[in-house]
Amino acid sequence: MSRALLEVAGLTKRFGGVTAVDGLDLAVRSGETLGVIGPNGAGKSTLVSLVSGALRADAGRILLDGQEVTRLRAPARARLGIGRTHQVPRPFARMTVLENLLLGQIYGAAARTLRDARRESLGILDRTGLGDVADRLAGSLSLLRLKRLELARALALRPRLLLLDEIGAGLIESELPELIELIRSLRAEVEGILVIEHVVEVIQACSDRVAVLDWGRKLVEGTPGEVLHDPEVAAVYLGTSATGERTAAGSAGAAGAARTVSVLAAAAGDGRPERARAEPLLRLDGVAVSYGAIRALQDVTLEVRGGEIVTLLGANGAGKTTAARAVSGMVPLAAGEVRYRGERIDGWRPDQIAGRGVAHCMEGRHIFADLSVEENLELGGRAGTSRAERRDRLGAVYELFPVLAERRRVSGGLLSGGQQQMLAIGRALMAAPDFVIFDEISLGLAPVVVDRLYQALAAVNERGVAMLVIEQNVQRGLALADRAYVLEKGRVALAGAPAAIRDDPRLLALYVGEARGDLEDHPPASGGTHDWPA
């Protein structure tokens, strides 16, 4: 057994009454990549913050290559060679992408002059696929590029130990092999890597060993094969996706939840899904949207009928979020029209559109971090509803997501990722909408939590609430849908019933790429340079 590069013993961290990391023992050996998985709220990100020094441990020891670093502050640990990424990117927004890297170059393990730092940083940017945006302000980058910037910035430190916190979240399947190869190529220059990832393929392909955390403790540890087939792991983490079943659990849970959800569905007067109605609830006709010179959407025609779940699929940058923003009035149309219940709503302000019963659960959750769970929810149900009505809706959201009721006085920022997403969904439902847009609700969440969220969507839909669901995961998206659309480069490339789309050979080319086969059998790490596709 080789020397331990990172050794963590009895590590404990409490936040108020919650013990996020609880007497954890863990080691990353020299030359090893350790995968860490676990449900949201298991303490994975807290572990990264404790090791990097962003948080101080309440108990336990942290050793880097035998040297005790438990009492050292963050900058000192960075200089010793501990580099990290942040799960939610924290760029230096008003500096250029290149400048973002300079700090690590100057103050990292091997100090450099500004001139050398610039040259070397450009190399790192090329390697992480950011070379073309070196001179752009970091604040103007998209979420996925910001994730890459997190990685590039950590590499600029020349770290010995690299802590990667969910840099794969939001990538579609065809992009994963390139991320995997990048991580593998890093093994040549970084002594040890700790990878936190919800994308199981990445964990499987990159890690020598995997540790599973639950409630701040280590549940299991072993080779990827052993761990991923462990029944206990499947129960706490992988959920139904591991067994390949579709959302069977969704319909079981739906029956129970349907009763409570009726309060949330204003349109449910007749208590029956409106699915049969031919009349479209929402219709986009020839919609085009431009960001400056870039056409993000072009001639998009799409409709959602009453009570229907429509899934919108597509690669990153295909225009899914833009389509959602076009519906809820957050971007102006360059052409075409949007009708809701037959009425033209394009050109309306977002609040006017929301007033008609359209709710938008935005990508990235957008929780008010300083407000409590209950206050966040209250804000969702403002417009002209009585206090009693709001209380009813609040109760219904709490029944849908009991964990929110438990934590109702906690500020939104302290929730785990899964709870935050529940809160975002609950907040959208507080408006008692007839139609909701859910944008990437599964982003960065453990499979078992995603199951829970999709059960909730099914339950809400049972009461006649129509939905447009934007989803990265093709199988999940199609399993839920009545109909689906696939966007490609801002245009509708495929449309129809889920089964037809799933079997359409073009789907593979459009969306999944040719990655499927590669996942099982990766070429050996080449150590060369790899660009991720933009």
Partner: protein, 336 residues
């Protein structure tokens, strides 16, 4: 159009840029000479107004380094200016000449900044801002009530004030030095460090930056410049009293200068100082109108030109520069 032509244009652009830089350097030298010689051909009044402009330019530079680049929005400027004024007053009364007195004032102000920084840097963002404001106000109240330094009457200066021209030259020197100092800082790695701390201090710490040191450097440097300007103010007056030397008006004026001129730009404080002081002179007879108009301008600048007057001027200049070569190119084409 032949393929060689674009290449020819590019090569001709390099000497053009070099020429532009030489023109700029020449213009700076000429402006410097003009400013230095100004007292020989301007009235006392112009020199007095210029004195204020230069004072505010120096203060604006210091505050801009702190707030514009470092994100440390301080409302404690008056504390350092007051310390500088009192130090110079005491020292010159004990026989020290004005210029060494001003320098010692700067050192004292920087020393004070160092002492209070561990407490202040525990606060971030808006809390830091409120903390500095509270500190400055507390110091002013202390000076009013503490009798060791003259209490609310303050200190009378024994030595005669320099001539108007002398004060002008001193102020010119201070403003030029402050600008030069900031320029120097911006050429080092500190420029990166400060902006990183401004954008996300925690992330910067994770990159190995000891943010405390970076903030301390900016804070003490700004305090030094403010202390020197305070000393300069003492050199002009015959009496230093706490209401004026530690007055909130200083703090507010400095923020106004930097905001109107343009945060995070080197030229911003200079433009802002000229604009603010000249506006104050023009509206001298209507003090309340002056305040209202200044307030409205600050709001308009923040709303419509967040990069300030300097940003607007720079953009205009860039547009002119871009238009210049194009017309030349057009002319060349016509000649061909």
């Amino acid at each position: 159009m032949s393929r060689a032509e674009p290449g020819a244009l590019i090569t001709s652009a390099v000497p053009a840029r070099r020429a532009a830089r030489a023109t700029l350097a020449g213009a700076l030298v000429a402006a410097g000479a003009l400013l230095a010689l100004a007292p020989s051909f301007t009235s006392d009044y112009v020199q007095q107004v210029s004195f204020r402009v230069l004072q505010y330019a120096a203060l604006g530079q210091a505050w801009n380094l702190l707030a514009g680049y470092g994100g440390l929005v301080s409302l404690g400027s008056a504390a350092f200016i007051g310390i500088g004024a009192y130090t110079t007053a005491e020292l010159t009364n004990h026989g020290l000449p004005l210029i060494p007195g001003m320098l010692v004032s700067g050192v004292f102000a920087a020393g004070f900044a160092t002492i209070v920084s561990p407490a202040l840097f525990r606060l971030r963002g808006l809390y830091f801002t409120i903390g500095t404001l509270a500190l400055a106000e507390a110091l002013r109240l202390f000076m009013v009530n503490y009798n060791g330094l003259g209490g609310n009457i303050g200190i009378f200066l024994k030595s005669a004030a320099p001539t108007t021209a002398g004060l002008y030259w001193l102020a010119l020197g201070v403003a030029a030095a402050a600008t030069g100092l900031v320029l120097l800082v911006l050429r080092t790695r500190l420029a990166i460090s400060l902006r990183a701390v401004r954008d996300d201090e925690d992330a910067a710490r994770q990159m190995g930056l000891v943010s405390f040191r970076t903030k301390l450097f900016a804070f003490t440097l700004a305090a030094f410049v403010m202390g020197v300007v305070g000393g300069l103010q003492a050199g002009k007056l015959s009496q230093i009293e706490p209401y004026g030397a530690f007055g909130l008006q200083w703090t507010v004026d400095v923020v106004t200068v930097a905001l109107i001129g343009g945060l995070g730009t080197l030229g911003g404080p200079l433009v802002g100082a000229v604009f603010t002081v000249v506006l104050a002179e023009l509206l001298n007879a209507y003090p309340s109108l002056h305040l209202a108009i200044t307030g409205a301008i600050v709001i308009a600048v923040v709303r419509f030109a967040p990069e300030g007057l300097w940003g607007v001027l720079a953009r205009g200049w860039a547009r002119l520069a871009a238009a210049g070569p194009r017309t030349q190119r057009g002319a060349r084409r016509v000649r061909q």
